[in-house]
């Protein structure tokens, strides 16, 4: 008898029904898994190809835009300089006080021929040395200073010195902060 035999008896004779069910389930799971791997593989592959092509196109576009912007670097430089310079000019304008208004305040404190000297220091403190012919004039000056203080045209007034000479001339030094 040859080794190759034809056996007409069912080969699964004697196998348990449970084992058959397990085999069927395993077969189904295997085919579903294979199909899923294939489908997900296709999806991921398509996504990869799309991303690659879009990325290349976007890189080309970004490169072209960068070259165009570099070609406009003169304008960009001018704009940058203009914005920065304008901010500086704005700060410079704000820092400059309108000292011309001090003269109006001084003329309201006393007549111009009463002044010996007037000085404004870096802290905006005005110090005036006046020479007045009488105490009454001095009183008028002080009254004017108080009045201007109430009108908020100056603040922190002080009489720094007050002296009378033998001839009755009053020498007075006052200081105040003019409100500009």
């Amino acid at each position: 008898m040859s080794l190759l035999q034809i056996n007409l008896i069912r080969r699964d004779v004697g196998r348990l029904a449970g084992l058959v069910r397990i085999e069927d389930t395993l077969r189904r799971i295997a085919w579903v898994g294979l199909l899923s791997v294939f489908v997900f593989g296709l999806i991921i592959g398509a996504g990869y190809i799309y991303a690659m092509r879009t990325l290349e196109a976007t890189e080309l576009r970004a490169g072209r835009l960068s070259r165009d912007i570099n070609a406009q670097s003169a304008k960009e430089g001018l704009l940058l300089s203009l914005v920065e310079r304008t901010a500086i000019a704005s700060r410079a304008l704000e820092s400059a006080k309108p000292w011309g208004k001090v003269f109006a305040v001084l003329s309201q404190v006393a007549p111009s021929d009463s002044y010996n000297s007037v000085s404004i220091d870096g802290s905006a403190l005005a110090t005036s040395t006046l020479e007045l012919s009488s105490v009454d004039e001095a009183v008028v000056v002080v009254t004017n200073i108080m009045s201007l203080t109430e009108d908020r045209l100056l603040r922190s007034p002080q009489i720094l010195s007050f002296s009378m000479r033998e001839n009755g001339i009053i020498q007075m030094t006052v200081s105040f902060h003019p409100v500009l």
Binding site: R11, E23, L26, R27, I29, A30, G33, S36, V37, G41, I44, G45, G47, Y48, A51, M52, L55, T58, A62, L65, S66, I69, S73, A74, K75, E76, G77, L78, L79, S81, L82, V83, E84, R85, T86, A87, I88, A89, S90, R91, A92, L93, S95, A96, K97, P98, W99, G100, V102, F103, S112, D113, Y115, N116, S117, V118, S119, I120, D121, G122
Partner: protein, 246 residues
């Protein structure tokens, strides 16, 4: 061998299913997961690059809408107010111009401070300059004139180009009919121009309405000195790799 063959033949379906399952598991861990990560990475990179391209497009659109001529003219106006260097010539000319307009006599003008010879790059910002945000050229002016002329001078100084600031002054009223003398401590402003444009995708600065108002105000101010500050070269910001190359 016959047993093996018989076993294989008997459990052929199970073996095939198991092999397929193993292949699927390997395919997931070796191929699908890395490919998925790579793809997500590419999508993220694509999103980032798209945003960058959008910014570049907006920047290019803004630049193309600007007129280089208008920018040059406006910058020239602002530079005449705050030049890029000390520009002593425009300083003297401006003070002389103000003196001429107000009818005072310019007796003396001297530059003070230790920075008269140092280039702007060598000078350090003082605390006051840091607070102000710009460099200053301190100088002293002595003028003679009537009280009204002196008042006109002091009133005019903050309202001319180049921009000047009065820090302190002292008036002396003579007893005789001589004109009144005044010594004024002043500052002129200057600031070197920027030399770095930044990256191509750097955000473009905008000229706000406040900036435009400042430019308009400066345009209205009389220019008493000659425009001695040269306009910047047409190409700002690029530094030669070899500065000595032609």
């Amino acid at each position: 061998m016959a047993t093996l063959t018989q076993t294989v033949r008997t459990h052929k379906d199970v073996l095939i299913s198991t092999a397929i399952l193993l292949f699927c598991i390997l395919a997931v861990f070796i191929a699908l997961i890395p490919a998925g990560r790579k793809t997500f990475g590419l999508l993220e990179e694509m999103r980032t690059l798209r945003d960058k391209a959008q910014l570049l497009t907006e920047k290019l659109t803004t630049l193309e809408a600007l007129s280089e001529e208008d920018l040059r003219n406006e910058l020239s106006t602002v530079l005449s107010a705050v030049p890029a260097d000390r520009a002593f010539a425009s300083l003297f000319e401006t003070v002389e111009g103000v003196a001429g307009r107000s009818g005072v006599t310019l007796v003396d003008m001297s530059i003070s401070g230790a920075a008269t010879l140092a280039t702007p790059s060598a000078s350090r910002l003082s605390a006051a300059e840091k607070k102000l945000g710009t460099r200053t050229v301190p100088f002293t002016v002595t003028i003679n004139g009537t009280l009204s002329a002196l008042e006109q001078f002091i009133t005019l100084v903050p309202n001319v180009r180049r921009l000047l600031r009065i820090r302190a002054f002292s008036l002396t009223f003579p007893k005789t009919e001589r004109p009144i003398s005044i010594t004024i401590e002043m500052d002129g402003f200057y600031e070197p121009l920027p030399t770095n444009l930044g990256a191509t995708n750097a955000i473009l600065p905008r000229l706000s309405e406040a900036h435009e108002a400042v430019v308009a105000r400066l345009s209205d101010m009389p220019l008493l000195g000659e425009r001695s500050t040269a306009l910047p070269p047409p190409f700002i910001g690029k530094v030669k790799e070899n500065p000595f190359a032609p």
